[in-house]
């Protein structure tokens, strides 16, 4: 145990956990990393490429090394940073990316071959022989690459998402963020304060600084209590604001129950879309390191992290209590760590300070003007080499803190591609002026890293931000605090021949950057892509600026001339589950149910997804062995008696107004203004580019009232386009539109006995052929006063009607029709039978109206009126459309038991099978119980002129060929007598 005194851990709440199967214990308030350190565990993982042993490097979400697979079974969570994994009782974690035990990873052999794996190595080799890339090299690389493993089991947890709105979003709850939130909160502004940590306080918790002469956590507690008391302030801990989107919208993830063994009845995480009028970016800063030879051993970490572990978590970085600790720094910040460690009783070897003449700031030894030039210790640091004035000496050390300065967390400020600017005084990139609109950086994120500076800039940021939206906030009393000295020199890396890591996780060394420079991969994006620098799970938070500095040194340019790195969302990794929002499985999309859905379900119908709708596909009866048997029965029942089908899903649009007829003349390719009241007409709609768009019926219920029906698939789009035509093209026409698809239940009543059936439910309405002929329509009442609309239209080719009643009566109407039609053999039929009936009749549906076809192809070219303007009319006359020769035809299979399947291509007999000889394709196919054979619809070159010809429907994809005879698409009743009787 290397647990120190003090810290913000609850020693009354011990927690048990396992790492790689070994049991340990920690305390509430620990992270997995702090608890492991306190147990003397330094070795926590392996690097990506060379499988180098690695220990924890940081104390936050920037962690490159200590990545673990957390939890078991379906909850296994790869690449979890041990530094932010909150300890809970029973936590189980395993290290990743090794073969064999962590301390004896077989793939560590890669490290021996590291000279071969230099930057860009992959691009230069593995090319010979050609076939070996996919068969040998790539699988090897793939298996060696990657980090953690997915369980491959469905994620068992649920997720949620929601919207939040505020005046001021404060990102980060360190000194700047707390001061900003308190200032804004007292001003009455609606404030959201978000922080990724589970405590408020940020860096205040990690330091030994006093606020108003007391430990900082006392002030944090006071502020927290006040903020919690303000109804206009929402505090969101365990919440990472991960991205900035347009117009003040932020993405944030709240880890609701990741700190619990299981979520229980709540969600695992929530995705928040926060709309904020203004924001203060108080995200703090991330410490950078100083690359030197063999700087990646477990036990070497950021000095600020070491300080954080000692102060907040009472954890020492060494394996055994008295191992010596050294600090390597280029400025005063390293001395801060030395002082804090001393105060905790650590055995301090001393501070190696690159600055000549640097003095001790406490009771410890300083190696001034010195560097760390080497290290020893395979699985954990044992010794370091200190070089001063050309003299090197080895010293035993169990841990080394590295302090290279601090990089403001500018990430969110660059999400809109604003570039950070170089601040030479602070040796850091700070947010530029071109960040997201309304965002004010404050505190360490703005380069104001001193405690007093951070408090003041946070408060000032809030005042400035609120002033922009007309809220006056007043300065608040801030606690007295000191700014620690930030003096440092521009010392970026220790020169030398051995490997010095810059990006730990991806194993990018100073040598790799030199090689990239040598190979002219000098633009920073080329450098990153060639070496994989900054591409790891930490997005190079601890690496990128150091790498730029090395490249700057090589090119002889200044650091900002060399480039800047901007960051993309998300700030830290966000689980895919929460971004999916929890609508998984059958909840992926809502289901739209027809009015007769439950009725059909009770009758045992099978359902099929039709866009968002669930429709009855067929209604099996006892004794039927196959779906075909059922469908054949339903089809024959319609042809012989009467069938009932819910066609509510067809789009319905009410068009009313004095100019309704004129409006529809312009919407439909054919004439609608001349339609007589009480009649229905089939209509074609074109897109403005002249292609066929949608078809359906148009009924005129009154002089100024039409009802347009559309296909199910295009119901929304046709309505949208009609509104476009009305509002944008012809706003002066007196017409009003409304979609009534959901308002009316519509049932097709089809078959020779349909009139008889309907006559039993209408309230004294004359259904005779003379009074209500084919294509008639009327408002009427049925079943004793229920208002209804009746249309004598037919998709099946039989005498048929569609009757509409208010949606809530749809199921009752269906039941009434079934009851009253029992003696007539009334039979419900589903979408399959509907499809067979329309193919037999040669009616087009989705496969024929696929957006690539024209009215000519359907044989309806003459419906496009030349007498009037309509959408698409002009463009339908273009050369390529006018000369279109493919036509819809029918096909009869000449092989008795074989179907020419949809998607087969047509060829002349004996022709080679090629794109050049292709004659067309089969659009729809079925078994026709009426014709007792397989039939199909197809588009065929010069189809009209090829009746009786024998072709081959070829389906090389599945290796089938079927001889077919070209026939009229109207397999039944081509004269239409049945419709009109």
């Amino acid at each position: 145990m290397t647990r120190l005194s003090g810290g913000l851990i609850d020693r009354n709440r011990p927690l048990k956990f396992t790492f790689n199967g070994t049991a340990y214990s920690g305390f509430a308030g620990d992270t997995l990393a702090s608890a492991l350190l306190a147990n003397g565990v330094q070795l926590m993982g392996r690097s990506f490429k060379y499988h180098r042993p690695r220990g924890v490097f940081s104390a936050g979400s920037e962690e490159p090394n200590a990545l673990v697979e957390l939890r078991e079974g379906a909850r296994q969570e790869p690449n979890t940073r041990a530094t932010v994994a909150e300890l809970y009782d029973g936590l189980s974690a395993r290290s990743q990316n090794h073969v064999g035990p962590l301390h004896r990873d077989l793939l560590a052999v890669n490290d021996l071959f590291s000279p071969f794996f230099a930057a860009g190595f992959y691009y230069k080799t593995f090319m010979w022989p050609r076939a070996f890339w996919e068969k040998l090299y790539e699988p090897l690389i793939r298996n060696a690459a990657g980090l953690g493993r997915l369980s491959m089991l469905p994620d068992p947890d649920s997720y949620d998402k929601g919207f939040l709105h505020c005046d001021l979003l404060v990102i980060g709850a360190g000194p700047a963020g707390l001061a900003a939130a308190l200032t804004a909160g007292r001003a009455g502004a609606r404030v959201i304060l978000g922080d990724e940590d589970f405590h408020l306080g940020g860096r205040l918790l990690m330091e030994s600084d006093l606020l108003d002469g007391a430990p900082a956590e006392a002030w944090v507690a006071t502020v927290k209590a006040e903020l919690e008391s303000l109804p206009n302030v929402r505090i969101m801990t365990r919440t990472t604001v991960f991205g900035v989107y347009d117009h003040g919208i932020f993405g944030a993830v709240e880890r609701v129950s990741d700190h619990l063994p299981e979520p229980g009845s709540t969600v695992r995480q929530t995705l928040w879309r926060i709309t904020a009028k203004r924001s203060v970016l108080a995200a703090g800063a991330t410490e950078r390191h100083i690359p030197f030879a063999d700087n990646d051993r477990p036990g070497i970490m950021l000095a600020g992290a070491m300080r954080a572990y000692a102060n907040r978590w009472a954890a020492s970085p060494v394996r055994q209590g008295n191992d010596a600790i050294a600090i390597f720094t280029n400025g005063d910040d390293g001395h801060r760590t030395a002082r804090d460690l001393l105060a905790k009783g650590a055995n301090l070897l001393g501070v190696i300070d690159t600055r000549k003449g640097a003095a001790a700031q406490g009771d410890y030894k300083v190696f001034d003007g010195a560097m760390v030039t080497g290290t020893k210790g395979r699985l954990g640091l044992r010794a370091i080499e200190i070089t001063r004035d050309g003299q090197s000496s080895w010293h035993d050390a169990g841990a080394l803190g590295v302090a290279g300065g601090w990089n403001p967390n500018v990430h969110l400020s660059s999400h809109h591609r604003g570039r950070p600017v170089w601040d030479e005084a602070r040796l850091a990139f700070v947010p530029g002026q071109n960040g997201p609109a309304g965002m004010i950086p404050a505190g360490a994120a703005a380069g104001q890293g001193g405690t007093a500076q951070a408090l003041a800039s946070g408060a000032a940021g809030a005042i400035a931000a609120l002033a922009e939206i007309g809220i006056t906030a007043h300065p608040i009393a801030l606690p007295t605090a000191k700014d620690a000295s930030a003096d440092q020199e521009a010392f970026w890396h220790v020169p030398g021949k051995r490997r010095a890591w810059v990006d730990f996780q991806n194993d990018v060394t100073v040598k790799d950057i030199k090689l990239a420079h040598q190979e002219n991969m000098r633009p920073v994006e080329h450098l990153k892509r060639w070496t994989t620098l900054g591409m790891a799970t930490d997005q190079g938070k601890t690496a990128n600026v150091s790498a730029l500095a090395v490249m700057a040194e090589l090119t002889g340019k200044s650091l900002p001339e060399t480039g800047t790195t901007i960051f993309r969302p998300p700030y830290t990794g966000v689980s895919l589950g929460v971004l999916g929002g929890g609508d998984t499985g059958k909840g992926f999309r809502p289901e739209r149910l027809t009015p007769t859905h439950h009725w059909a379900k009770a009758r045992g119908a099978e359902f099929v997804e039709v866009g968002p709708w669930m429709r009855a596909q067929y209604f099996p009866q006892a004794g039927e062995r196959t779906w075909r048997e059922t469908v054949d029965r339903e089809v024959l029942a319609v042809r012989a008696g009467v069938g009932l089908c819910d066609v509510t899903t067809l789009g319905k649009i009410d068009v009313q107004g004095a100019d309704a007829g004129e409006f529809l003349n312009r919407i439909y390719a054919n004439m609608m203004g001349t339609l007589k009241v009480g009649m229905v007409r089939y209509g074609l709609m074109l897109r403005e580019d002249g292609h066929l768009y949608d078809d359906g019926t148009c009924a005129r219920l009154a002089e100024d009232h039409y009802v347009v029906t559309t296909t199910t698939a295009n119901a929304g789009a046709v309505y949208r386009n009609m509104e476009f035509a009305h509002q944008c093209l012809w706003p002066d026409l007196d017409v009003q539109l409304i979609s009534t698809t959901d308002a009316w239940a519509q049932i097709a009543v089809a078959g020779p006995k349909s009139r008889e059936l309907l006559s039993r439910i209408v309230d004294g309405f004359d259904l005779s052929n003379e009074a209500f002929p084919f294509m008639a329509c009327a408002n009427l009442t049925v079943c004793g006063g229920l208002r209804a609309r009746l249309f004598r239209i037919s998709f099946s080719g039989e005498l048929a009607y569609e009757i509409a009643v208010p949606a809530r009566y749809g199921a009752a109407l269906m039941e009434r029709l079934m009851t009253r039609g029992q003696d007539l053999g009334a039979t419900p039929y589903g979408t399959e039978a509907l499809g067979v009936l329309r193919i037999e009749k040669g009616h087009a549906a989705g496969a024929e109206l696929n957006g690539q076809t024209t009215a000519q192809m359907l044989g309806l070219g003459r419906m496009v009126s030349q007498k009037k303007d309509s959408i698409g009319a002009i463009m339908s006359r273009r050369e390529g459309l006018a000369q279109e020769k493919r036509r819809l035809v029918g096909l009869k299979s000449l092989a008795p038991q074989t179907m020419a399947v949809s998607g087969a291509h047509l060829f002349e007999q004996g022709a080679t099978r090629s794109m050049e000889t292709d004659q067309g394709w089969v659009t729809s196919a079925c078994y026709s119980p009426h014709l007792q054979g397989y039939i199909a619809l197809a588009y065929l070159e010069n189809g009209d002129a090829r009746m009786g010809e024998t072709l081959v429907a070829a389906n090389p994809l599945e290796g089938t060929e079927v001889p077919v005879e070209v026939v009229s698409a109207h397999f039944i009743d081509p004269e239409g007598g049945r419709l009109r009787d």
Binding site: P78, P115, T125, E138, L150, R529, W530, F588, G903, M915
Partner: protein, 416 residues
């Protein structure tokens, strides 16, 4: 310098001192035979094939930033030739054949990996449309297979077969499809072109065209005027911007398409899989990151960033299809500007201005076309006639009514 196994070993053992620049950093000359505007995949490929196949080496590629900084460096790396229409399919199949020999041709490992693409279908109608397409692929020699649900359960048991809102019924597979290392493609072409004498000029933004009597004679750039016998524009999302300098409007809208990569994971996804009931497609990189994407944001944009709604939509699709993804994490998400055309198909053609040529309208599938696009554009620039596989990619197809509309949605770019 030729890369070889011997060279790689020698350099590894001698401290990598012998590697030289992958390409030079030349100053622009006053005059070139051909100036290509745009140092992306298509521009670099054009220069490469101009030099290698057509012997035209007095060529400059002008890039406003760093080469490969456009869509070739920010796509989801899929290569495939699974098109339906005769205007497209031979071209993409030609591209696939070039992919298959790319590394040997350029002496640069672009990591072409033919691990297959599976387009899932969830309804009979979708199956029929895929069957029609698969048959077109068979007819063009691209090859295709129709997979049953049982086949899929074997290949991808992690898909959501049993609790899906839109059940998976099967898939259309092209086994020769797969992925390539996107940056490597740009670099391989750049290095190959540079070796053959092409000047690659970075940080050189074109700011205008020099014209004389209806012909283009050169370009104005941030590094001075550069004369050109012919100018080829291959700037993808910036097509509208650049051609506006020549006073031309295009049948193109620039829109943003987002792409996503997860943290590195041990291998989970074989090949490329696309969802048929939501907009989501996914593959896994050699490094282990899941690379995925979905729908366009759907509005005009030059901002190289998208919005949260599409992020959510993509992951809703992902989680619906592969519920085991939930505990992986998104690492990076970015946007690219794609040149969406009015029929979803590309343009490789002369313009109505003499000696000015255009290559663009790659919609959201330009990467897979890179080799054939470069080849066909080089052919057009060198021979002044279209390459046989790119004859349909003309400007005038819109006015004449010969659009190549794979999706059948008409002049609505955000639906292609």
């Amino acid at each position: 310098m030729t890369f070889s196994g011997f060279k790689v070993i020698k350099e590894a053992l001698t401290g990598h001192k012998g590697w030289g620049p992958l390409w030079r950093t030349p100053e622009p000359k006053a005059q070139y035979d051909v100036v290509i505007v745009g140092g992306g995949g298509h521009g670099l490929a054009t220069a490469y094939y101009l030099a290698k196949v057509y012997g035209v080496t007095n060529v400059a590629v002008l890039e406003k930033g760093w080469i490969g900084s456009g869509n070739v460096g920010r796509n989801t790396t899929i290569i495939r030739s699974n098109y339906l229409l005769p205007g497209n399919q031979p071209f993409y199949e030609f591209s696939m054949k070039l992919w298959e020999n790319l590394e040997q041709d350029t002496n640069f490992n672009s990591m072409v990996s033919q691990r297959g693409i599976i387009n899932l279908f969830h309804s009979d109608g979708q199956r029929d449309a895929y069957r029609r397409r698969g048959n077109a692929m068979m007819l063009s020699g691209a090859g295709a297979r129709l997979l049953s649900q049982a086949d899929l359960r074997e290949r991808a048991p992690f898909l959501n077969f049993d609790n899906a809102r839109f059940p998976i019924k099967g898939g259309l597979m092209q086994e020769r499809a797969g992925t390539a290392r996107h940056d490597g493609v740009a670099w391989g072409y750049a290095r190959g072109a540079d070796m053959r004498g092409v000047d690659i000029i970075q940080n050189c933004e074109v700011t205008g065209f020099r014209m004389d009597a209806g012909r283009v004679t050169g370009v104005e750039t941030t590094r001075g005027v550069i004369g050109a016998g012919k100018v080829g524009v291959a700037v993808a999302g910036n097509s509208g911007r650049v051609m506006a300098m020549a006073g031309r409007r295009l049948p193109i809208e620039s829109q943003v398409l987002q792409a996503f990569v997860s943290e590195g994971l041990k291998p989970v996804i074989p090949g490329v899989i696309t969802f048929g009931a939501g907009h989501f497609y996914i593959s896994q990189s050699d490094k282990g990151g899941l690379v995925f994407g979905g729908d366009l944001d759907g509005y005009n944009s030059y901002a190289q960033r998208g919005g949260l709604p599409v992020v959510e939509d993509v992951l809703e699709g992902g989680m619906a299809l592969m519920p085991m993804l939930g505990r992986a994490r998104l690492l990076r998400n970015w946007g690219g500007i794609v040149d969406m055309s009015m029929d979803g198909s590309p343009i490789i053609d002369r313009t109505d201005i003499g000696d000015l040529y255009f290559n663009g309208a790659w919609n959201y599938g330009g990467f897979k076309a890179t080799p054939a696009s470069g080849y066909a554009f080089a052919h057009l620039l060198a021979r002044d006639e279209p390459h046989e596989t790119a004859r349909a990619f003309r400007f005038d197809r819109f006015a004449r009514g010969y659009v190549i509309d794979e999706k059948g949605v008409g002049a609505q770019p955000n639906l292609h």
